[in-house]
Symmetry: C2
Subunit: 370 residues, 2 copies
DNA sequence: GCCTGGTACTGTATCGGTACAGAACGCGAC
DNA sequence: GTCGCGTTCTGTACCGATACAGTACCAGGC
């Protein structure tokens, strides 16, 4: 009687049928539970004859295989890794660059049998995935470093890899050379004779508008690095850029900064604009066209990322290329390596990878107008 | 001595420090382990004074919170749900429609605290995520119904929701009215006077080329339904379409079928083409243009999905609209509902939702040429 | 004084596995 | 004969938590 009550707890029964576990099968075949476990997880530990009998019995009972939760607890691994995305997880899918990055990770991870779990920084509810979901490790992708979700992951001492983030001593990281890329973009405009140069940025947390001190603006790692890169080149040429930023959340991210930069008398208007991304560059070109300006005759535009959009645009966009797929692969590899290392005792230095960026000159830039 | 050996197994120690568990904290504070568990998971079960002391002790010991794996085993829930994607998981991110769907799911799930785990059907390795990763439920999105991964999920008796798939008696499903949408698309061309009509399809597993018996072609649920919809209208008008399909894996999915349909003498060439997707329609328009055909004067083109691409195109694409975000929300809701129901005993009938589709007439269709 | 009911905390029995050290057995070698 | 060894299977001790049924204690009503 009492036994029956106990069996009713939780999910011990499904639709009246007692739950099938290793023990059920062991009893049926007449072997120990351990042998059944071995039949599934370490085939070479028993005779293939017995193994077949066990598997047959399991099949008959509708047993799927060792329960993932039980196994996770006993083994200490779950077979899933997380990727922590910025607050705007919608963006992670809509944005071609982020989407391709995720796709590359997923593709690289697939053969290892690791599944990818999407984690968000949203601290809205009391259920925090970064704290509560079983995970073997995690990628932190372009997150606000003060995010509580990152803190949870770190406190769990999960193997982590930072991507598109400031690197941190103990944590392996994968970044692209944002700064060199941005420097090349600005230098390209300078070399074409441009002297009035605008910067079109976007901000996640700040306000849209013109920016006085671009170095002081709160921004993510990527924004900061690219800004530094542009200023490297512009400072060296003694050029003070006009900096405008729009809201990152805007669908047409480029429109607002473009208007701020271009909607002014010809003598004050920048003749060249470097943009934080190809999407922003797209918006800038749209606004320029609407104002009756020709690209690149009246205004040159440089993007960043070399997303598919860049080559689709008309004119094709001059931009800074990054190999997003390679970044995804590198991140996945770094993570699997970090996980392996955490299982052994070895604790070698965390590697910080910096992938190159290259300027791709297309049709959206040309000599400065006279 | 022996005790120490045992402590060295697995991850009982990290960097020499003994692993902190509820018991460690309990010993330190001088209460039972259960009370510590309550301090974290059921605050109202103890005095706030004691709770604070426990939390402080936990903090001091660097305890993060109840171990997710242990909790998963004891509670029977993990806080993560899976989404099983087609083999081409790269496609899931690259394809704007699929990406938006995933984004909508993730966004809808976020407030519930459930994380989304990406599962692939790749049966390559012996580690099968669909079988081995702890999950509370799963979405099956546009998968090959014979996929082994789907079979694993079903055998695990996880709460499932099928999306863009043939619906199955016991399993809740979310679909769009592909057939009605396709019917409307074909009818639209018929109403415009078109009599020579082509169908541009793509295939995952078959071969590129002209298709003799469109009803017999192996295809996914979505392909089948759309084909049936087109034929509904065409049959009624006594029109026999020319059906061409390209490879789904091609970047320019539309090129191949477009060439097959359009690269023929004017008298045999279709004057109207319905396409399996907007991406294919894009390819068709490109090819038409390259062959010197005007859209819609010489050939009308209708897409499917109403992805962002459709309005970006020139001319803007006439297409069948589906509300992908709504589909994602519906799927997420259906899944959380299925999970809740599976926890109770109630087993109400599985709901099959069918979301509407509507024809959006833009500039890529016009009267049949004389 | 005794019973009722509520709050605060504890004890015990799981959850479903895995790891490792045996144990039993058969077989060839010395 | 028995020693050594490999193969095959078993026993026990966990992994880290939660559920539920107590138990202890206190206030209040009759």
């Amino acid at each position: 009687m009492r036994r029956i009550e106990l069996f009713c707890l939780k999910q011990t029964t499904i639709g009246g049928m007692a739950r099938v576990t290793l023990q059920t099968i062991a009893d049926m075949v007449g072997v120990s539970r351990m042998t059944v476990s071995n039949a599934f997880s370490r085939p070479n530990q028993l005779s293939s004859d017995l193994r077949d009998r066990i598997l047959a019995a399991a099949d008959e009972l509708g047993y799927v295989g060792p329960d993932p939760s039980g196994r996770a607890l006993a083994r200490g691994t779950t077979g899933a890794v997380g990727v922590l995305l910025t607050d705007s997880l919608r963006d992670a899918f809509t944005n071609e660059v982020a989407a391709e990055f995720l796709g590359a990770i997923a593709a690289e991870l697939a053969p290892t049998g690791l599944a990818l779990t999407l984690l968000t920084s949203s601290a809205a509810t009391d259920a925090v995935p970064a704290r509560d979901v079983p995970l073997d490790g995690a990628l932190v992708y372009s997150c606000d470093e003060t995010s509580t979700a990152v803190a949870w992951l770190e406190r769990r001492r999960l193997p982590l890899v930072f991507v598109d983030q400031d690197s941190k001593p103990g944590v392996p990281s994968v970044n692209i050379d944002d700064r060199a890329g941005a420097r090349a973009a600005a230098q390209h405009l300078i070399d074409l004779g441009h002297r009035r140069i605008g910067i079109a940025d976007s901000t996640v947390s700040g306000e849209a508008g013109l920016v006085d001190d671009p170095r002081a603006a709160v921004a993510s790692h990527v924004h900061r690095q690219r800004m530094l890169g542009w200023l490297d080149a512009l400072d060296a040429a003694h050029i003070t850029p006009v900096v405008a930023q729009g809201l990152h959340s805007d669908v047409d991210k480029g429109e607002e900064p473009a208007r701020l930069l271009l909607d002014r008398p010809a003598g004050e208007r920048p003749t060249g604009i470097v943009c934080i991304s190809d999407v922003v560059a797209y918006g800038v070109v749209q606004v320029a066209r609407r104002l009756g300006l020709r690209v690149p005759d009246d205004v040159s535009v440089v993007g960043f990322d070399d997303s598919p959009l860049a080559s689709r645009m008309e004119p094709a966009l001059t931009t800074v290329h990054q190999d997003v797929a390679a970044k995804g692969r590198a991140a996945a590899t770094a993570l699997t390596r970090a996980i392996e290392q955490s299982q052994g005792d070895a604790k070698p230095r965390a590697r910080h990878e910096l992938l190159p960026t290259t300027l791709i000159v297309r049709a959206s830039t040309g000599p400065a107008p006279l």
